[in-house]
């Protein structure tokens, strides 16, 4: 199998870029390349990850300025051609601002910045990001955000559900979708969604922070494995 190249975009204020690079590099045959926001060259990447952090200090709205970074022109084109793009936390916010995903993320309903372990369930295991999960899995993956409260107008929400674009939901430890298990007030307990064509995923939880035993959970690894097995199969 030839080497897989994954691009990790670095915006000013990204702070999970190196965690993501580390997680990406922990798989055999996968090489991360760091892509500076001012560049235009995706350096042959076969998938792009927009990492977590506070791009541009979250000025104006989380992700709103990063969305206009020079590299985003190429990332948007890359996504529109059907190549995989993954946005984690602030990366999810950037994807929503850029229009690659639908909806918006507002302040957590309890006003708090939340930094804790959550349980989520993959509710659609047929996307290129989730084939290595089972829908019965209950995953322990951390969140760390102040603006993760997923919102979309009713017609968008309905369309997301109808086309099975909701990929992860916050659940309790038994995998039940309950309001108590919803950390931030997201509509329909949404933790992650894909676009209609299934090649762009955004999620608030951090799979890269759940990819090593020492970190207390390995539940993020199958997400990367799913993506790599998809790329390898092309």
């Amino acid at each position: 199998m030839s080497e897989i190249t994954v691009g990790v975009v670095v915006f000013p204020g990204s702070n999970c870029d190196h965690d993501t690079e580390y997680a990406v590099a922990s798989f055999n045959g996968v090489r991360p390349v760091m892509l500076w926001h001012n560049d235009h060259d995706l350096q042959g990447a076969q998938a792009i990850i927009l990492p977590g952090g506070f791009s541009y200090g979250d000025y104006l709205r989380a992700g709103s300025i990063a969305r206009f970074s020079p590299i985003m022109k190429e990332v948007i084109e890359f996504a529109r051609k059907g190549f995989p793009v993954l946005g984690i936390c602030n990366g999810f916010q950037v994807l929503l601002e850029s229009g690659l995903l639908e909806g918006a993320l507002s302040r957590n309903r309890d006003k708090k910045f939340l930094c804790c372990q959550t349980t989520i369930r993959p509710v659609n295991c047929s996307t290129i990001f989730t084939t290595q999960y089972k829908e019965s899995d209950v995953l322990s993956i951390p969140i760390a955000h102040g603006e993760g409260n997923y919102f979309a107008p009713p017609e968008v929400l309905e369309s997301l559900e109808e086309h099975e674009q909701v990929v992860f939901r916050y659940t309790d430890s038994l995998g039940q979708v309950t309001d108590e298990a919803n950390p931030n007030g997201s509509l329909h307990n949404i933790a992650g969604i894909v676009n209609r064509t299934g090649n762009v995923l955004g999620l608030m939880p951090h799979p890269e922070r759940a990819s090593e035993k020492l970190l207390g959970s390995l539940d993020g690894r199958p997400l990367f494995e799913s993506l790599y097995s998809h790329i390898a199969s092309l």
Binding site: L60, R61, S64, I65, F68, L96, E97, G103, A104, S106, R107, N108, R109, D110, K111, N149, F151, A152, P153, G185
Partner: protein, 84 residues
């Protein structure tokens, strides 16, 4: 003569404004029991080097929709004043 655009961005009514809620509670705690609600938005001043009002308005709408507000959850309004 340039224009100063005074742009206000507010959360749509259907969106829970947690900052506004916190301020509302604080005002009530201060004894202002007639305060019924508080909502927080953003105020942005932009100077636009345009001679024509119509063109300045077009730019205001453009930048408000493209960057300054997120139409999914925010509304915007603006006033334009000629700078002397």
């Amino acid at each position: 003569m340039p224009y100063t655009a005074k742009i206000k961005v507010t959360l749509r009514q259907s969106i829970l404004d947690v900052q506004g809620k916190a301020v509302e509670h604080a005002l009530k705690n201060l004894g202002y029991h007639t305060v019924a609600s508080a909502r927080i938005g953003k105020y942005i001043e932009v100077t636009i080097n345009e001679e024509e009002l119509v063109e300045a308005e077009r730019i205001c709408n453009d930048i408000s929709q493209k960057l300054l507000s997120n139409p999914v959850m925010e509304n915007y309004s603006f006033d334009l004043e000629k700078v002397n």
